[in-house]
Symmetry: C2
Subunit: 243 residues, 2 copies
């Protein structure tokens, strides 16, 4: 995707191609920000850096603003250009992808808030599982954004395949956290936060998968018929691990 | 909103008004299903009814299917009718609302899966807090769907105001669950599930609020400038309660 040199002001004189490129730029910028937010919060967890976590929280409104901007831009394109076929699908999918990115960033901010609380509590060994899980998901986001920009369906499908790996790591982390709490009830508050943080990261992986599936639809024109690697991934790991 | 008597097959001969009515019908049907899913799972939690919970899980794909149908229908409307102004906003917001409803239903299904696990574990007294919290959120969904169908912005704003009540109840329930776990570590597994269930319900309230805000935008043409009752509601309650 070519980087646009246009500002947001001159859009009345743009060509439709220029307008689509601007849309792609905004998605790329939003994706880059979401990815950076996750990277920063993982560093904050590892290094117990409250200030860095606070910066992640503070940067979230910028991403929300960008989502609003993309929304307004797509509605404008739909109204003025009345696009058809592939262009129409490109615009509508940009709207959906921006929604996914907003949620990814929202989860990163939520993890950051919990990190700040966590730093005030005694260290729990299982904390190390968070950046470990996070790094896999971070790669998924990076790769799915690359795939989206390049229109590379195979790369997107590879991202989707990794969701199973994330679920396995998440399940094992939840088990470890439950064992830690039972072992030492003084860790319950910290472990509760860690459990939600792990869940948030697992959800980020789901949103990366959603983007991969959207790209598939965008390029191939049909939805992925085969179900996801596992369909009930939001709960199944816990019951299995804990029941 | 008038109930359409058209099937999905005869859309080539429909008027644009008829097509918009069909879109509204699909949204209303999806909203009704999401609301019914939450109601059913709350009954399953109260009555420890595993079969009912399993039915909620089983009904989730129907809602996903409806979201796909709405997506395809909106793309079709955008392509064939090239709508402008209010019609365009109506169609794009239907797309967004269907996304919110899909997530609401997804959370209900997640609660249902955890309910099935919970029924196999010793009863925890704090469980009663789940249907209590759920009922407030159920009313929010009901009211925001009414507001959406009627285009009633005031009603939507009233729904948005209730989100603070949900957060307060959620915070208090999380505190109770943490105290229960510390008190009796044998309840840790059950309380962990209850905590995620409470979080899911609180998130459903957020999605009801999103629909309210979308309706505001749809009717008034501007976004709500004033921030939500609280901006950081996804984490703040826990740190406050637990730190």
């Amino acid at each position: 995707m070519a980087v646009s040199s246009h500002g947001s002001e001159d859009h009345t004189v743009r060509s439709f191609d220029g307008e689509l490129a601007h849309l792609a730029d905004m998605i790329a910028r939003m994706g880059g920000l979401a990815e950076a937010q996750l990277a920063a919060v993982l560093r904050a967890v590892s290094g117990r850096e409250a200030e860095l976590a606070a910066r992640v929280v503070g940067a979230d409104p910028e991403i929300d603003r960008l989502e609003q901007e993309i929304y307004a831009w797509t509605v404008r394109l739909l109204a003025l250009r009345q696009p058809l076929a592939q262009d129409l699908r490109t615009i509508v999918s940009a709207l959906k992808v921006s929604g996914e990115l907003e949620r990814i960033a929202d989860y990163a901010a939520n993890i950051a808030k919990r990190t700040i609380v966590l730093i005030g509590l005694p260290t729990v060994e299982a904390t190390a599982g968070i950046p470990r899980l996070g790094r896999v998901v971070q790669e998924m986001i990076h790769d799915v954004l690359d795939a989206y920009v390049q229109g590379d369906v195979d790369k997107a499908l590879a991202v989707r395949q990794r969701d199973g790996e994330v679920d396995a790591m998440y399940t094992s982390l939840v088990r470890e956290l439950i064992a830690t709490m039972i072992d030492d009830p003084r860790t319950i508050t910290a472990c509760t936060h860690l459990m939600f943080m792990a869940k948030n990261i697992e959800r980020i992986g789901d949103h990366a998968t959603n983007i991969a599936e959207m790209l598939y639809y965008l390029v191939r024109g049909t939805t992925l018929k085969d179900a996801r690697p596992k369909d009930d991934r939001t709960t199944a790991p816990d019951p299995d691990g804990e029941a």
